[in-house]
């Protein structure tokens, strides 16, 4: 499906070239001996209009980084910007409102409110703000996601792939500046996963939607425009126009460097 009405597409020219930035972010969990430094002076810039994948071994701080960028979690030092807004200066309520108005989310599982229909789940960020979705945009989204005849169903009546597509619809409905996807295909079979990833890539290309996705799967990362590699709480590498093979090669290299490090460093 292609865009026929240019007005439906978000106007990318009004956006800054960088959609989100993390500057020297430090985040530590626990205290004393048990302290774990999940982010250790991590800095990253998310270009607007692109599909960025964040990769790294388990415990590298992928999820922590995305949570910090989305304002879901506080940080110990550094700064986080969404557009020009410094999240670290915002009160909890303002961060909530920012999430509602400017960000979208897709999680690995438990993405939907069981009591609401698919249509209601998609519209949720807007209805929480007391607004109604734009009918034309809603219509286009549900057709693109193949959910047109599933709108009255509750999450319990949808397949896993359908549920995740509803979650993507919800993430996009408010035309956010940035969509965060945390392992969105983690619970899907490979066919449903491929369809979802293709849809995310199309959203970035067709509408200039900025998307940041955390994944541990090189095949999934290959759908992105760019891959950022994390290790031990820092950005260690970057790759543009990735393929599954190039991503896998970089990852292997990362693991090798980690194994070279002296124990206890």
């Amino acid at each position: 499906m292609t865009v026929t009405d240019p007005q439906l597409a978000p106007p990318p020219q009004t956006r800054p070239a960088i959609a989100a930035r993390a500057v020297d972010v430090v985040k530590t969990y626990g205290r004393g001996e048990a302290a774990v430094r999940a982010l250790d002076s991590a800095s990253v810039a998310i270009p607007a209009g692109e599909f960025t994948a964040v990769m790294g071994p388990s415990g590298s701080g992928k999820s922590t980084l995305i949570h910090a960028l989305a304002g879901l979690d506080g940080i110990d030092a550094g700064q986080v910007f969404i557009g020009d807004t410094d999240l670290t200066t915002l009160a909890e309520r303002d961060r909530t409102l920012l999430r509602r108005e400017r960000l979208g989310f897709v999680f690995q599982a438990f993405n939907l409110i069981p009591a609401l229909t698919a249509a209601e789940n998609i519209a949720l960020p807007l209805t929480l703000a007391g607004k109604r979705p734009d009918p034309a945009w809603m219509n286009e989204l549900v057709h693109m996601l193949g959910l047109a005849n599933r709108l009255d169903h509750r999450p319990g009546q949808l397949s896993g792939g359908q549920q995740q597509r509803v979650a993507v619809g919800r993430a996009l409905i408010a035309r956010p500046e940035l969509v965060f996807a945390d392992e969105p295909t983690g619970n899907l079979d490979s066919r449903s996963g491929a369809a979802l990833l293709a849809f995310l890539r199309d959203a970035a290309r067709t509408y200039g939607q900025t998307i940041v996705m955390v994944t541990h799967d090189p095949v999934a990362a290959a759908y992105a425009d760019r891959v950022v590699f994390l290790a031990d709480g820092r950005i260690v590498d970057e790759l543009t126009d990735p393929t599954a093979e190039t991503v896998l090669a970089r990852l292997a290299g990362l693991d090798a460097t980690r194994l070279d490090e002296p124990v206890g460093a």
Binding site: H67, A70, L72, D73, E92, R93, T96, L97, R99, R100, E101, G104, F105, F107, Q108, A109, F110, N111, L112, I113, P114, A115, L116, L124, P125, T127, L128, A129, G130, G156, R170
Partner: protein, 841 residues
Amino acid sequence: MWRLSLSNALAHRSRLALTWLAVALGVAFVAGSLVLTDTSTRLLDEQFRTTAAGVDLTVRGAAAFDAAMGVEVARDPLPADLAERVAGTAGVDRVRPVASGPGQLQVRGTAVEPAGPTILGTWAEAPFTAYTLRAGHAPHGEEVVLDAATAADHGIAVGDTVTVSATASRPLRVVGLTGIGDGDGLTNSTVVLVDLPTAQTLLDLGSGVTAVDVIAADGVAVPDLRADLAAALGAQYAVTGGQDAAAASADAAKESINYLRIVLLALAAAGLVVGAFLIANTFGIVLTHRARELALLRAAGATGRQVLGLVLGEALLVGLTGAAGGTAVGVGAAYALRGFASSAGLALPDGPLTVTVRTLVVGLVAGTLITLLAALGPARRAARTAPVEAMRVSDPAPAGPRRGRLITGWILLGLGVVQLGTAALLRQIVGVGLGAVLLLAALVVLGPVLAPRLAQAVGRPLTGLGVPGQLARESIVRNPRRTAATAMALALGLALISFVAVLGSSVKAIGASSTEAITADLLVQSSRDEMLGGLSPEVAARVAALPEVAATSSVRFGHWLDGDMTSALTAVDPATLPQVADVQMTGGALAALDGGGVVLAADVAAERGLTVGDTLAMTFSRDGEQRLRVVGLMADDSARALSTSYVLSLGTYAQHFSENVDATVYVALADGVGPAAARTALRAAVADFPNAEVLDQAEAAAGRAAAVGQVLGLITVLLGFAVLIALLGITNTLALSIVERTREIGLLRAVGMTRAQLSWMVRAEAVLIAAVAVVTGVALGLGLAAATLAGLSADNALVIEVPVGQLLAVVATAVLAGLVAGLLPARRAARLDVLTAIATQ
């Protein structure tokens, strides 16, 4: 398994804490009620035994029954020579003639009004009594001895002059103060002791006495002497053991405590039942949380029976410890209950508390049993957990009600409604009780079906209030069993409160409507319950003699046995009654009472199948069963005006009753006399009768309503306790459901639900549960009250008065309380960390 139970209960202690509290509170109420009533009973027993110490046998007039409605019957006076006849019987060592009865005491112009009776008695020296002079000397002639406690309370000293009245009234000088046994006096009573001639004068006995106390000679067996005396004196006189007579007196006094015990235990049971809902709910929710863990146990080889044992073991721990805590607290609760009771005008003897083994056992067993029973349902569901559920990824949807439950529920509901309606129409109170039980059972069974539908209807306005409102309603509808249990607990409490409110206002309305048939301008009434001392006939005589008064008519009341049931009757003067009351006859004539017989309320006559000319068997304490001819039928309104459905003439009354006091004297004023002036004249005329109160109709009705209100107020306060437990249930259920919905809440927060919106949602859930409970509870309460009033009005016309204002207050309070109950869970939900909530583990 037992060790697993223990560690599980400890691990879930925060979730089980409110359950524990509910058990403990319910048991505390039970134990408190038992301790309080045991204590009161023991104290009364001790007092009455003390007063009879030293007396072997007591001779009194024979009576068909000893006491009715908590009051000992009056007996005929004994002739003066009886004491000599008794003394002359072989085996008797000593005798003492006694004159005693209800009296009144006035100090410096003010009546001394203890909560119980003022006992006018005859002074006696040892070995006959337990009186022990604390100061002064024994009374002779115009002298009196008072109990030390009363003297202390009212600042009376030896040498003061007080007024003592019974039928007659005398100023007497206080010459001594006495203790009774070890105590300073009798609880709630005033004891006034004079010598025999003075007592006979005050009680207007002439040379007669009320009893002869007997001490057996050494070496004579008391039972033998009792038989000898009974044979020698004849059936006209009753010979009882001194302690037996005391026990009978104590039993009469204890009757009100027995009523109190029943009421308190019923209310405590309500609290426990409400608690049972909470317990069942908590176990249900906690076990759902643990479904995977239990399935893992099953997969590892635990049998369903072992899982059942595991869960019941946890319940046993909670129940046992909760009941133990509650029993301990209950002893303290007894003090609080005594305070509540006395503030509602129910005086109970003051003294050290009695904690019996029975109280401990009942408390422990009740608490443990109710917890086990309540946990049985959830435990059986848990035992059915299939091992494969351990592998399930998503949480199972709550199970819908099963078909069997639906069928049982609807059948029970149908039976309950039909039974209740039929019993109400047939005016059978027992049938109404059965219907109520069926109805409640139906509601428990059908709750999971009805509650969600009701929630959907009641919660309709919420959907207009955005996503939080919509979600609040959905989550209440989504968990039928949980919603039903939580709402039913509160509904039960509210039903009882509305029931009591409707009953109370209807009883008041009956009281108010009774004044309509009375045309008297003023009435003179005993300020005490007439059973604790009515008006001397002298009062009526003095009032009648006043120039301001056109006519007076006296009314008396008496008890009689109607088969096994104690019933009341009214005695009137058929000649003067029409001048102060407008009695509507539907058959026969009021004047016909002059020739003996009885006038019945029309509906009672219809129910008994009696009409004018038939006879009615009535058993009187003084002369046993008598057959009275029905000489007239009166309208139901008139019967209410006269307080009972059975009316005799004063002349007939005098044949069957020994009492010679009026309950009320109705007064019609002469033309042109203002009520204010008349009151002044009446008050002056009866000034030396401390218990005579001059009132108009409105004041008399207000007095009756206030007494009803006080008792109902006490019951309502105690029911508030059950409601409190139910509110704990709302808090508990919501707090647990917040834990359960952690992920959902995290998601909502992530996509932009503010903390304010979230806590609004949780509070809306609490209010919605409360609203469902309010609708169910008030409807149930109204229905049951209507049926009960119908069932109770067998003797009178049906009056139902719905106290709209009061019920609205109940509704508003309950909804507000629901809001308060939701505060804690709402806070907890709002504080939930977004990240922990969405973490996928």
